[in-house]
């Protein structure tokens, strides 16, 4: 077993950690002498919150954040729908449904999201008249849907077969069994991996800047092109993403810990 370190060594380690952290921060964000880069942090706040005509308005970075959250939110719901459909199709008796689902999952998981984004925007876009933002949401939902589908499928197959047998002996048919017995348990069981998949979704949504959807990343790029505040803006953007994703990550690990406990009981 790992021996519990003594209180003194733990305090010492904590102190050392804080020291290293502040040294790194001082090196990164210190004045020009320390880092060799002329930091201009005072120019950043106006891109978060700006005052025009006696009123406070969100700056471009916060607007970009809103766009990122909106894209991720809509894609999250759609990717769940896509994922559940793909999982059910894959597990069905139907030959065509299983084949479509298998082909979809394999193909999506084996090509880069960026290429899919370009493909949907430039190839399918003109064919089906898909505007830019819709193309972004579509690409994200289809991409994440493949992963969500695999997660949900693993959840469904992990349900004990006695659950099926009991449901059938109660006279339920296939869709009732899924609706009332299997899916509620399966989804609950895969909630932790689904939450980490949401972190991936928020991160992946940054790629839509490549097709000029005005999300957080693109707003950052635009500001940098104007002001050359390269590191300040990128660190700010990274911090903004970090706040959202860390919140989700913490939620995921909490959920996982709770699931572990309830499963062990």
């Amino acid at each position: 077993m790992i021996r519990k370190p003594s209180l003194r060594s733990r305090l010492l380690d904590g102190l050392l950690f804080v020291l290293v952290l502040s040294a790194t921060a001082a090196f990164l964000f210190g004045g020009e002498n320390a880092s060799g880069y002329p930091w201009q942090w005072y120019r950043i706040p106006r891109y978060l919150l700006e005052r025009s005509e006696e009123r406070w308005r969100w700056g471009p970075l916060m607007q970009g954040m809103g766009m990122t959250l909106a894209l991720s939110g809509i894609s999250l719901i759609l990717s769940w729908a896509v994922g559940i459909t793909a999982a059910l199709m894959r597990l069905s008796h139907s030959i065509v449904a299983a084949a479509i689902s298998r082909g979809y999952t394999e193909f999506i998981r084996n090509t880069p999201l960026l290429v899919q984004l370009f493909f949907i925007y430039f190839v399918l876009g003109p064919i089906f008249d898909i505007p830019k933002t819709t193309a972004a949401v579509t690409a994200l939902s289809i991409f994440e849907g493949a992963y969500v589908g695999e997660i949900i499928r693993s959840g469904i197959t992990s349900i004990d077969k006695t659950q099926w047998e009991s449901a059938y002996s109660l006279g339920m048919n296939l869709s009732q069994t899924y609706r009332w017995i299997i899916l509620p348990q399966a989804i609950r069981r895969v909630l932790p991996p689904l939450t980490s998949q949401t972190v991936s979704l928020v991160k992946d949504s940054s790629l839509v800047s490549a097709i000029a959807v005005a999300d957080l990343t693109l707003q950052g790029q635009i500001i940098i092109a104007d002001t050359f505040l390269t590191f300040e803006i990128w660190f700010t953007v990274a911090a903004m993403y970090l706040i959202v994703t860390t919140f989700l990550s913490v939620a995921a690990s909490r959920l996982e810990a709770r699931m572990d406990r309830s499963l062990r009981r």
Partner: protein
């Protein structure tokens, strides 16, 4: 599961693979699929009046050299080569970094664990595209200007340069290539770290206790007892991460590294062959990753058969 005889009477759909049959759903889905594909083709032909020009695009895959008349790789094949080079070097750099983070995270000292965790969470929770942008400016403007790659290159003999070009691509793009590789390596390192840590945790604790009883110190325990077993367990997920690296490497097209995705956008801005280019680029990625995935699944099967390792047993029984 295989040993249960009355499988066919079980109501569980996914256990009744044997009973897959043609149902009404199949007919509906097939009709819908045919309808959508036909509608798309019809629209391309009648409304968009798209002029297919596969021949021009083929010229970007394999180019006929005007001087010698012999076929040489075109922009797309060169891009594919850059993608493979980039992923290969990134994985090579990422594995030791990942190992370091994993060892930090499974250390007994609080300081090591916190440092490893902080680095891991910082990189894992930031979008790759942002990491690549920061890495690009950091490496190309800060670090590489210190080491001055271009100057060093000029001092090297021509034969050495040829070797470097074979491994890293054209010498003019070397600084950008190196910073892209470093950024991708950092991104992949945190995933590799988690894979290795999972491998370390899956080792039975009795192994560590036994080696401790034999008087091995912490380093010897890792070197002779833990890591050899970990390597066998994590080989399949580690090679799976290589496929992810290939996919993630497409993102470096935003900093103008001339890999496959970037070459695609370049060809389009020159020729406007949207359809042909994206179809080809997607297929090239798919062929590359499918081949790798197939190889990995065979490797996985062999590892599982020969070792009966703890990790797989755990995964199989959930």
């Amino acid at each position: 599961m295989r040993s249960d005889p009355p499988l066919h009477v079980l109501p569980v759909p996914w256990l009744r693979r044997c009973c897959s049959r043609w149902t009404a759903l199949d007919t509906i889905l097939l009709t819908a699929l045919i309808f959508v594909v036909t509608a798309a083709c019809w629209k391309v032909v009648t409304q968009l009046r798209y002029h297919w020009n596969w021949l021009t695009l083929f010229g970007h895959v394999i180019r006929i050299d005007p001087d010698t008349g012999s076929p040489t790789p075109g922009a797309l094949l060169q891009g594919l080569a850059t993608t493979i080079r980039l992923s290969f070097w990134a994985m090579l750099v990422a594995t030791p970094i990942g190992l370091a983070i994993a060892l930090l995270r499974s250390s007994r000292r609080l300081f090591n664990r916190w440092t490893g965790r902080t680095f891991l969470e910082l990189v894992r929770n930031t979008p790759p595209i942002v990491v690549i942008f920061i890495g690009y400016y950091f490496f190309s403007e800060r670090l590489l200007s210190v080491f001055d790659v271009s100057d060093t290159l000029q001092d090297l003999p021509e034969s050495a340069l040829l070797w470097i070009e074979a491994g890293f691509g054209p010498r003019s793009q070397l600084p950008a290539f190196l910073s892209a590789t470093a950024s991708i390596a950092v991104i992949e390192a945190v995933y590799i770290a988690e894979i290795i840590r999972g491998g370390i945790r899956s080792i039975d604790h009795g192994q560590v206790e036994a080696s401790e009883a034999l008087g091995l110190n912490r380093l010897q325990q890792l070197r002779y007892v833990v890591l050899p077993q970990v390597v066998r367990n994590i080989l399949p997920p580690l090679s799976g991460q290589f496929v992810s690296t290939i996919k993630d490497s497409a993102i470096v097209s935003v900093i103008s590294i001339q890999e496959l995705c970037f070459q695609g956008t370049e060809i389009i801005s020159a020729t406007h062959l949207h359809f042909e280019t994206w179809i080809t680029v997607t297929l090239m990625y798919a062929v590359l990753t499918f081949t790798l995935s197939y190889g990995i699944s065979r490797l996985e099967r062999r590892v599982r058969k020969h070792s009966g390792s703890a990790l797989f047993d755990k995964r199989m029984t959930g």
